[in-house]
Structures are given as C-alpha cells and as structure tokens.
Amino acid sequence: MKKPTKVLVANRSAVASRVIRALNELGIPSVAVYSEADKDAPYLNQADDAIFIGEAPAAKSYLNVDNLFEAMARTASTALHPGYGFLSENPVFAQKVLDAGHVFVGPSPQWIEKMGHKTQARHFAKSVGWPIGLGSELLPDDNQLVKEIARSIGYPLIVKPAEGGGGIGMIVAQTEDQLLSAVERARSMAKRGFGSEALYLETLCLKPRHVEFQVIGDKYGDIRVLFERDCSIQRRHQKIIEEAMAPCIDRSLIQTQCEGIARGLGTLGYDSLGTVEMLYDTSGNFRFLEMNTRLQVEHGVTEEVLGIDLVQSQIRIALGERLKNILPDDLSPQGHSIQARIYAEDSKRFYPSPGRLQIFEMPVGHHVRVETGYCVGMEVTQYYDPLLAKVIVHAPNRNQAIAKLISALRQTRIEGLSTNIKALIQIIQSEHFMSGNVHTGLAMEVVQEANRKSA
C-alpha cells in the first residue's frame, strides 16, 4: 500500500517556516528538522513532527546526507523539500532522494546539474537564444593562459566560481595587474564555498541592475514565466532589498525577455520553480547571468503582486498536479511589492553579529508580511547565514510600498545583536532608490556616504 504523503523540510529558519506554512495550508503532513542551534526554533512546533539531525555546524546537520536520510526513514517521510542554500542545488543529493523512492520538491537532477555549472548554463542560454555577455570557458591552471584569456575578454572583468551561486567568490579585476590575485582569491573562496576551484571570467557590467525572471514548470511539459523582480540592492553581491515590478524599465522590454525565456525553456521539460537571473545595463540590454533551480529568498514579492502562492504551487507540482490546474490562465501584476532582508550584522560595515535575541518585535500592518525562523530568546549563532527575517510589503504603487516598508522597518525592534535595519532605511530613503534609479552598487554608495557624514 502506498504510504501517505509526508514532506520533510530539509532546511532551517525563514525558509523552513515558509515551507511548513505552505504544507499546513495544503493540509499535507510535514516534518521539520533541527540542529543543536535551532532546537528552540518556533517552526518546529508548527510541523507535524520535528527531528534532531545533528550538531550546529552545517556539515554535521543540514548538509549531512546520512542524517537527513535517517530522518526521512524514522519519520516515514515520502518527500523532501530542500529549501534554498544547503543541498537545494546539489544534483547528486536530488538523485539520491529520487533513487530512495522519495519525491524531491525541485526540478529533475539533470536541470540542477546543467544550471549548477555556470559555463554550461551560459552555453545553454546561448543555444536557446538568450542574450549572454562576453565571457570565458573554464580557466586553465596556467597563469599565462589565464592572462591571455582575460585580454581577449577585456578589462574590467569579474572572476566567478563555475560551480557557485549566491554572489559568493566573485572578484573584480580592474586591470591586468589585479588579475592573478583576483583569480587566487576567487579560487580559494570557490573551494571553500562550493568544493570546486573551477573558475571563469566575464566582462564587468558597469552600474548594472539585477533583474530576474520567475519560471514555473510542471512534470507534463508546461512552463510559464511569472514576470520579473529587481534585486539590484546588494552588499557583497548579496541581495538585501528586492522588488516587483522592476522600476523604470519599459514593460515591452520585460515582455520580450519573458517570451524569450518561455521559448528557450519551451518543451525542454523544466519541471519546478526556477529563476533566470540577468543583468540589465544602462543601454537597456539584458545579459544572462545564471539560472537558479530552486525557490529563491525573494519569491514573496512575486507572490504579492500576482496574488499566488509559489511554494504551494511548487509542492503541488512535485506531487504530480498540472500547472494549468494550479495557476489561473491570465495573471497580471497588481501594485508593487518590496522585500527587505533583516540581517544580523551591523549597519556600517555589515560585519556578522551573532547574539541572543533579547527583543524581537516584528512589524504588523495591512499587506505587511514577515517571514522568519527566529523568536525572542533564541541564539543567533555564527554557523549559518545572517538572515533574521524578511519584511515584505505590498501597496498599490511603488511610492506607497516604499512608505509602507519604512513604516514596517521602524516598527521592527531587535535587541541583543546588531542589525542592518538602519542601513536598509538609509538605502530606501535615498534619492536614487526613491526615483527607481537603482544599480548593484547603489546600496554601498548610500551607506558609505552616510558613514562619511556621521564620521
């Protein structure tokens, strides 16, 4: 007899909370997992079951495949949701989940593998007619060859890990004499972050905007592109504020990209949620960056403007439902949504700030949404990324969304560690952000200017 569906959420914090909420709303039994550091997490009691999977360091718990499979067996789970980060883009792990007879809530492993390798993904993009910037193949070990390859691409350029993601390990070289040390640094960060030293080069786009497109496909060949998000507000190449829709870009240019992406993935069978990330330059050109084959941290702003639930949709697709029975045929964005990521780091240098949450008051309001995996009294440790909570607002237009977000951030009280809230407010209130004149260097420009003034 077939076992009843039960989904183990192989992740922690805000995303675990988010997935458990979706499972509860769908009436599907859920299992939460926790490391030693997360034993007081609020979402553990929101799932049907919670199981300990190891000590705090990720390698001993959230990345421990044996412990996760044991947890699956002991809880009689039949499916696994990997969240984002951790094992979510590990094709070997996804295949292991499938081989064990479980459902993997994500795309087929071959898609994870194809898009996980960034130079392969660029080849794919080119082959389906997506715009790509000038870039190299995998770099050889020979420094002289690397220099020649760099010369053919031109400076300034950026060195990137080929098996990477999350903005980690990307180092700029403005001129040739910065090249080898940039390669060295990127190599060591790539090795540490992703276990691979493979690198490639791309021309550096000046003052680009990060514009990405939400994709959703089912297991029957149907695929849809659910418009875009602008994620240009970043520090250390990591997003801190994201919004839908992208401000000040002609809708027809967005539409063209949506159509190109849908055509490119077309009948190739991409069978879950995914995001095609692009850079948009000051001349109005898009270029493919990478495709993420998982749920993204910023998925909520798309949900807000379209009035849909992407996580529920992703789960339903994984369990065999058809996209046409999940989403209405015509979806058009209403209003504007902005997300701010509250990080456990200081607002001047963005250095990590572990500590115990002595006060943790989240904002409330109409169309003010909070996703978090923490509660008051919890220890925020050094072992994981610094995301404390996401605040997502929705309003009829961008100006109102901005005002609502500032109000929500002012309501937020967190004590016991440092947060980036002050910096978030500085950025959102800046002239350039308010006018929609965003680019990936804007956040640092605003914060560094604010630091100069207060010095």
Binding site: Y351, Q382, D385
Partner: protein, 73 residues
C-alpha cells in the same frame, strides 16, 4: 618594545592562520581569517610589527573582543 594585542572584531571561528610566529607583518596585512555567518573576516595588523604569539588555533571559536595574537611593535 611594546606588545599589541590583536583582538577579534566578530564572534566566529578561526578559519585560517596566514602568518607564522616570528614573521614581520607589514602594516595592513592580515595574520588570520575568522569566519562567521558565511563571511570571512581578515584580522588585520594595522601598524605592522613582529608576530610574537598566537593565542588561538585553526578551528577555535572566538568571541568579539577576544585576544587573538600578540604583535611586538
């Protein structure tokens, strides 16, 4: 000869020690890298000097403000 204590700016773990006892450290060079919340923070010796003692080893957890090394200036 003065001895400066180099302190950690963050709570985290010692990921890598990149200098040896006895080395002359140039001003602004780093002697070790602390990792915390998936970020790497170099421990910089602003004024330079001779690394005379390492008070932690790779893998140790460190707290913000904890002494990590001694520099003879």
């Amino acid at each position: 000869m003065a001895v400066e204590q180099l302190k950690s700016e963050v709570t985290g773990s010692v990921w890598k020690i990149v200098a040896n006892i006895g080395d002359n450290i140039a001003p602004g060079d780093s002697i070790m890298i602390i990792e915390s919340m998936k970020m790497e923070i170099p421990v910089i010796c602003e004024d330079g000097g001779k690394l005379s003692a390492l008070l932690v080893k790779e893998g140790d957890s460190v707290a913000e403000g904890q002494n990590l090394a001694e520099i003879e200036i």
